[in-house]
Symmetry: C2
Subunit: 207 residues, 2 copies
């Protein structure tokens, strides 16, 4: 299986380059576990869902605290994908959850996802998230999506449903664990699943 | 059918609010054809693909020229969706192309898409785009995606393939017509199709 993301960081400040470079420092612990390649639009990260979601989380949490005196409004977008039939198999992407999740009933997967979110670390950075989960190449894809939404509503990070997407809010630790669980536990374990993800911090908009 | 997008504009400048407000002025001609609702993360636009893609195009093209003396680096993200089984039918979203596209062979749809891009208006704003097309709830989804990629390669706006997505580059008129054709002519006409879209202009990154 091939698992990865195209990730872009958008600091709404004239010093956006400085914020991006500070954020990228948070990727250092993951560079030996992920393949990371940057161009002018996005950064490709390829690897197992453990380091992959942790790296995106830490990148965004770090950027959301820059500059330290007065953090800027910052957003992140990621296109996440697993199991795309057009991508080559990559041993570095191997994931135990996907290896055992096949054939587990929905209720069991929902319970495991909840437990994982409850055990997530607390990073002390409050974030807003909006995302869509897509299950491709399979009939009955909405059953898995509705099953995922039921999990989200019990995750402790659910804010509200919107057209085409779901809003989460909370500590970056719990929110990113919620996203990882949505990505791994719903849709066929060996199937093609993607997420369209937007994260936001320090927005001046009235909530 | 229900058709729409969640759209976010990200100007990489400390005056991001000013750029966003200037961009929003470009939506004025479309406000009676689209339902437009904004919150702190994104703006929902619901309506037919004609005004929908034109509105997103004009919003981004306008923002990419702000401030006029020295335009800022600006990006836009949109989550586009048609035919989601979870959304209600909406008469304002009716689209002639989707009404007749059912059962047309792939080669015919590719030729019509090419002709539409060739006839696109020239806006005089150069943009970069990265996007993914998702065909949901159907077997053989990759056939439609590969068929779309073949069209993209002949569209005149194709830049390159990347993991999980495709890069386009060109005038905003041709690029957004390419996106609209990808959205409408590939995947079942009455099916669930989404696009994860990123636009970029005035990037300081080396190309």
């Amino acid at each position: 299986m091939f698992i990865g993301a195209q990730v872009s960081l958008y600091p709404m400040t004239s010093d956006f380059v400085g914020v991006i470079l500070s954020g990228l420092e948070a990727l250092a612990p993951y560079r030996d576990q992920l393949r990371i390649e940057t161009d002018d639009i996005s950064t490709l990260m390829v690897g197992a869902p453990g380091p992959l979601f942790d790296a995106i989380r830490d990148l965004f949490a770090r950027a959301a605290q820059q500059p330290p005196q007065q953090p800027a409004h910052v957003t992140l977008h990621a296109t996440l994908s697993r199991g795309c039939p057009g991508e080559p198999d990559d041993p570095s992407c191997r994931c135990e959850i996907l290896a055992v999740a096949q054939d587990q009933p929905l209720a069991e997967r929902q319970a495991q996802a909840q437990a994982a979110v409850a055990a997530a670390p607390v990073l002390g950075v409050a974030i807003d998230v909006q995302f869509s989960l897509y299950v491709l190449g399979a009939g009955g894809h909405m059953d898995e999506i509705y099953g995922c939404i039921d999990f989200l509503k019990t995750s402790g990070t659910f804010l509200k449903s919107k057209n085409f997407c779901t809003r989460l809010r909370g500590d970056a630790g719990a929110v990113f664990e919620t996203l990882r669980q949505a990505f791994l536990r719903f849709g066929p374990a060996q199937g093609h699943v993607t997420i369209d993800l937007t994260c936001s911090a320090n927005s001046p908009s009235a909530r």
